[in-house]
Subunit: 309 residues, 2 copies
Amino acid sequence: MVKGRQASGGEVGWIERIRRRAVLPPESGVFLGIGDDCAIFRARGAADDLLFTTDMLIEDVHFRRATHSAGDVGWKALARGLSDIAAMGGQPRFCLLSLAVPPWADARWMEAFYRGFLGLAAREGAPLAGGDLARAEKAMCDVVVCGAAPRNKALRRDSARAGDAIYVSGALGGSALGLAMGRGRAWRRHLRPSPRLALGQYLRARLGATSAMDLSDGLSLDLRRLALASKLSAEIGPPPIYPGATLEQALHGGEDYELLFTLPARRRAPADFEGLPLARIGVMRAGRPGEVRLDGGLLPALGYDHWRN
Amino acid sequence: MVKGRQASGGEVGWIERIRRRAVLPPESGVFLGIGDDCAIFRARGAADDLLFTTDMLIEDVHFRRATHSAGDVGWKALARGLSDIAAMGGQPRFCLLSLAVPPWADARWMEAFYRGFLGLAAREGAPLAGGDLARAEKAMCDVVVCGAAPRNKALRRDSARAGDAIYVSGALGGSALGLAMGRGRAWRRHLRPSPRLALGQYLRARLGATSAMDLSDGLSLDLRRLALASKLSAEIGPPPIYPGATLEQALHGGEDYELLFTLPARRRAPADFEGLPLARIGVMRAGRPGEVRLDGGLLPALGYDHWRN
């Protein structure tokens, strides 16, 4: 999903230029557009708000044929969108898949791709409702996931308040470690991330989170985005680090697909949710919007920016 | 949108294999999946059904940098999805755009692309609600359009009945002629098709059409698909031909984006709708499903199959 890549470097980027020009008339039913994990649409008379997210996965940009099996590519193509739905506390409804198939992809590759994709779709209750299929030089897919959340209850990234505590789920840097290793448990975690759907719904419905987003591009960049959207600064200590990963990987590595969220100062998250650790790593402040400090020092936003990199 | 490319040649193709595996549980709210112009989703409590269509536009597959300006590419990327919404008699609600930008595309190209895209979006009431942006070797975009139609009223391609009259809007072959000429009025028509949204809503709400679809891949192939979906055969005479085009172009040329629809035998369409001619070209029969006859002879489905070609 277009998440506000203007966050990087401070320059007004393309996303911001598009967002300013993509006018949303009130009668369209879209009341949150470009800039969060999902767009939010309200159908006339509907009990729930609908969340929409769209993510591309491109050969030699997001994955390589030599190292990523077809099943892993199918899985991850859907997992990224499901993670956006999780970030807003939504429940998946359905998905759409556009797939461009290169000459080298044979029937076996296709079968395995769909097995990976549809396996996760079935597990998370996001049936494939449609899509498009074409040939192209490189493999590419674009996945839309639709989710639902009760009216006005979807978690957003622009609603944290000064004084809120900052939390992350799980341990960070595992995906970056896996990518560097190319084998082992961290590598499998990189290949088949598990969207935190149950946690997201718990944060929304039970824990009273004030904001949330998923960690797709690295804590330093994603927390900067959340802080920018909420017009606050953030002060954190070191986050929980995935076994074997470095602090650098935990701070700047992408694709962990854990959740980053805020709670009112007086509220405490439990130590874990269904076995997944929840760690308090800092606090939101009424400082310079988007500024993130680690142990008092300025933390540069070195996370992965698909657009800049 | 995945429209059932199994229609070509009679072999059970990938779309059919995917469709069979993409199980849609009733509680998902999706009650029409792969196989029509749009998927249909019903949100709990909503007054309208929501229609979703997704279409890719890929450099050197669907367009060429040398001949298609950025503005034309942006326009057509959205026009194709809007045409699917028109085919079901829907009203656009919003759209999502995933865009992969190649190294050669500079800021001017991007500006012009968005101008073309957002211009049509504003004209047709389909504001851009979100999307994704990435870099890639070739330009590629995937557009999702969401539309709405009253509950159970969306026009489908599987609901024609034996004896129904077959109609088309406009004149066919103009886009194929334009592509062959590379200039003039037909070429502009190829570059900037006009989705027949008002006509689609008129067919649904006023004229009582029994089925409809848009002509994206050529009459011979698209009518075969409608006939197959409705489990009927079709008998037609020559369709109206775009000035300067050949009968071959009118029968098999793609991208006209006119509407193909059926009416009960006793009902007559007016000669035009807001100046757009409506022509009766034949009748649906209880014959071999998917068979199309032109003046009594078998008409081969030579229309453009993005997957086969």
